[in-house]
Symmetry: D2
């Protein structure tokens, strides 16, 4: 049990999703306080801190390690900085909420997990989909035995289009490390007790075929075999013109659950063209409650001194192993056993 | 038990819905045969008969009464001819399938019912909505007690627009006699065992306000109180730009059933404007199976010599009483007790 | 423009909905602060205040009038106290957010409106349905002309059952004053620019027929005619066993909008019995965002010194007039012109 | 242009689906006549013929080749007899409607195609899904450019469970030859102009794991790469406890279409457990119109002497190539290029 009634959280990374998390901490989570913002870009931390009534801003996140008022950090930097920051924060005794992916190699993942354990801090990862009501209730239905043993699973992520990114700025294998990592976690989580054993990945640059020669990938389909026999399909694409499409499906020996709806509300408009509904265009608008709920849970868990029940370091590592298997599958153009990946 | 294996049915009235029924008899009902067509319009019966490979055509339906090969008639003329034709057919010993409304006064309804009874012929009425799968299963759910006692009911009919009719050619009170009569039957049928006791009607010319002064009505809302306490709302409009909209809802002490969907299929199209589906534009396309099923049932019942289980003369009379109550309600601008209507 | 950056709001009435609002103020609205709670029940205000970290609690709301730190009050007492409290608060210079119904007579409504105007304070009413995304977008679609001129409207409220209330404790006509008042506001708001001219109400005790003789009413159907020809139906029942059912529908000359869905999420469970979804059981769970959004808007408007764009005193008065028309309609068993009600 | 007004069709194979087709010919297709039934099982042809009022029954289908009154045959035998029967029928100058799969090897498929061409007869294959309204309209939307270029496709078949078959009687690779062949045709047809280039299959016995050692397969997931970059997933399982689940999805550069709904009608039942709908349990109940429409089209095409617009020999061969690729993929545990299959 913490002696604090409010959790002081510092944000690292004042970009789009970091700013959204900062707002959640400052405004939507009663027992959390945004105590500092750190970002190396000149002025970025300051501007965000000012906007949210937070006094402290840093360009160097290391300043946070020495600040005894900082109880926890939320890491929302570009992916390649996640591991060193998470590790340093844990070593400084700060609880860590880390955006996905927590690490880009299994060795990195192991370092973060070890640091958290050694320093007795909580480590939670931003797999927000688990906190969406439909997904959470779907998992509960599976746990309750309503669909029997999972046999066929599906999880997909389609980012809202048209995609206006610069292929040259997309890090290699981002679709696996940063996009499909959500689907891998979802699929593992929705097949409780089972372990993935083999993956096969197909990937292409269909949104920007001109960038394919340079290694750009924006579309992928992955099949995963589990040790309970289940077969899962994960699918991603960077440019869904109709919106931000996140769906899950688990078919089992006794039934099926489906989750996810791209429609913004129950409004239907009927006119001479037929019936229509509008669609979600942004991730944070699609899952606002899930984004907040995960940080609320982290906050409550730390304050109450009990282990959080959300995705942790081991989950991040397991999803990463699937992503690494996908990359190996593409490089070797064959199915890859995850034991080969994890045993390096 | 009939001695026939095929029921010879003659159609009276070769208009749009009559032609559709003729096609059903000729092509979609294996044990029925279209044996003759009658229509006073020069050439109309002949053209339809030729198109469907039927030999006999008449301009005078009375020719059918004398034809021993005619086992049954389907009456699909303008409404004002239904009663005399149904009565004459019954007196000639022909089984009668009569389009709604079977009669325009209670005295007329009584005459048809009496004629059918006196001559031992079957009398079924074209309340096709009862044969739609959703509505039929809804009634079955009510019968099974799944929603408890009905308390609030709704039935609506919105014809596909834009309405291009000529208000001057619409008979007075058509919206009650010919359109809402469907909803009245549906509401009475979905509240089994209960009797309507009072109606209040509101009506207007909202599609063609210019024709209101001439007595034209194209929009109506009706409330009906039943002797089991239930309150029903029926609603009609001549011009739904999005299609042919037929829906029903029954709320009871233990739950609710809803029925009806204007969408043509499960196809959904997702694009930059959102999600859309196309809608039904014609009654016979919306309920093709229901239109056929009612005649199939009539055919089977007559051939097997057992009373049909569809809507009959008493149902037609009960729905008509509600329509007459609506007309009185509008003329007197007050709620009207149906006992005042039925006791004349 | 207010000189404050945070709006200090005092809650009056620490019951179920008052407690929920207090939580919203304390936790979900960043620029609002719960500064005091008042409730005459011994200890009630104190317990709620303690739970939410609020220092000040009163048994007499009049203590708030003298407190210069109180910028605004949120009135969530039993309905009969709304008017005197709102009037007194306004006269004390406090901005007022008043739960529905703001008043039980037109004279009372006028007093509150006059007090707010005379004292230059904002007056917003808790018609939360306007703030639900589906309803708000539906109104926007109407404003954009997507369905043409409204012709047929429907709004319904079915409270989640089984209803376990004590009929003896339900004030007379509560179904109109407190339940259907929401639907009346919704219908008036969804038919912009039009005015209701006549109402007819039917009401009964179908949930608790044993209490009918004592004047209890738990089920009602109301028809409203507007000066633009539109006809609306409002419907309420206290005991929907399947959940908290709020829906709206507006049919116009060019199309239709429908709003409201009792299902809790996009989760669907498919098993040997078919397909199923779970349903909402509580108002504050169904519309959490709408409940918060209305207070957020009130807070922002007051702080920014601009008139709020939500429902105000005139809207509360207009919905009340319909409710009063319903009561007169039942007492006189006829349609009632609203001009007769408003001109008393 | 045929000189006949009615097409005389003989059925070969009086099993479940054959009997359904016979009924369609006899009763649901006005310009077709069931002229004969052939089935080697003693009495089977006779019983079906009698039931449908058809005079002629054979135990040897060869009797049909010599009958000049037989214009066409519908082949609905076990799959291994399709090719020899189709070939013989074509050589006898009979038009051929052949259930899927038309052949089990590419050489067989070529023989049937060649026989039909050489003898100037029509050859249509029973890929009924193309005739379902949702799928047909989906293809039309793709043709109209509404979703741009297809990038990700999905087609699935889940047979209604519990599966009560005998694994020992299921021919090897049936899931590819007979079940997924539908999905392969659907995917090729929904990606018009593109050609499949590579397939990877995963298969297992999840419904009956006890039969896996004997080679039984009841679950499969297949990925297909097309020459336009599109990636498709086909999926099948023999035992969906919730019903007969057929769905399709095509995601393209400008949008998406989805097709298929396991729910039987628009009826929804709301009760204390939530909202529910019932589901389809049989293929012929799910797609009755599609089953009839394909034979109606075949009949009309033959009678009018114009090539049918449905799936023909080349389509059957293309879908078969994918099935053969799947089998090779499983045997070799790798992705298989279809050029390797087709160039054998």
């Amino acid at each position: 049990m913490s002696t604090h009634k409010t959790l002081n959280i510092a944000l690292i990374g004042a970009g789009r999703i970091g700013s959204f998390h900062a707002e959640s901490i400052a405004r939507r989570i009663p027992n959390a306080k945004l105590i500092a913002v750190a970002d190396p870009a000149p002025g970025a931390a300051r501007r965000l801190a000012d906007r949210l009534g937070c006094e402290t801003a840093h360009t160097d996140p290391a300043a946070l390690w020495r600040d005894p008022d900082v109880h926890a950090v939320l890491i929302a930097t570009p992916a390649r900085f996640h591991t060193p920051l998470a590790e340093a924060a844990a070593e400084a005794g700060k609880h860590v909420f880390c955006e996905k992916p927590m690490a880009l190699t299994l060795a990195e993942a192991d370092r973060v997990i070890a640091a958290a354990r050694a320093n007795g801090v909580q480590l939670q990862v931003g797999f927000n989909r688990r906190w969406d009501r439909a997904f959470a209730d779907g998992r509960a239905a599976i746990d309750a035995g309503r669909i029997g043993t999972p046999q066929l699973l599906r999880s997909l992520t389609r980012d809202p289009g048209p995609w206006g990114g610069d292929p040259a700025k997309v890090p290699l294998w981002t679709i696996f490390y940063e996009t499909l990592i959500h689907d891998f976690d979802t699929l593992l989580w929705l097949n409780p007790g089972a372990r993935p054993v083999e993956v096969t990945a197909i990937a292409d640059a269909l949104v920007r075929p001109d960038a394919k020669a340079a290694g750009h990938i924006d579309t992928a389909v992955v099949t995963i075999r589990f040790d309970n026999g289940a077969i899962a399909v994960a699918e991603a694409n960077f440019s869904a013109l109709y919106g931000y499409d996140i769906r899950g499906e688990v078919f089992g020996s006794a039934g099926m659950v489906t989750m996810g709806d791209v429609r913004t509300s129950s409004l239907r408009v009927f006119d001479a063209q037929g019936v229509s509904a509008s669609t979600f265009r942004m991730d944070t608008l699609h899952f606002p409650d899930a984004y907040t709920a995960q940080i609320q849970h982290f906050t409550d868990s730390v304050l109450q001194g009990r282990p959080h029940a959300g995705p942790g370091g081991a989950d991040a590592r397991a999803a990463l192993a699937v992503a690494l298997g996908c990359i190996a599958s593409i490089q070797q153009n064959r199915a890859v056993r995850l034991s080969d990946v994890t045993q390096g």
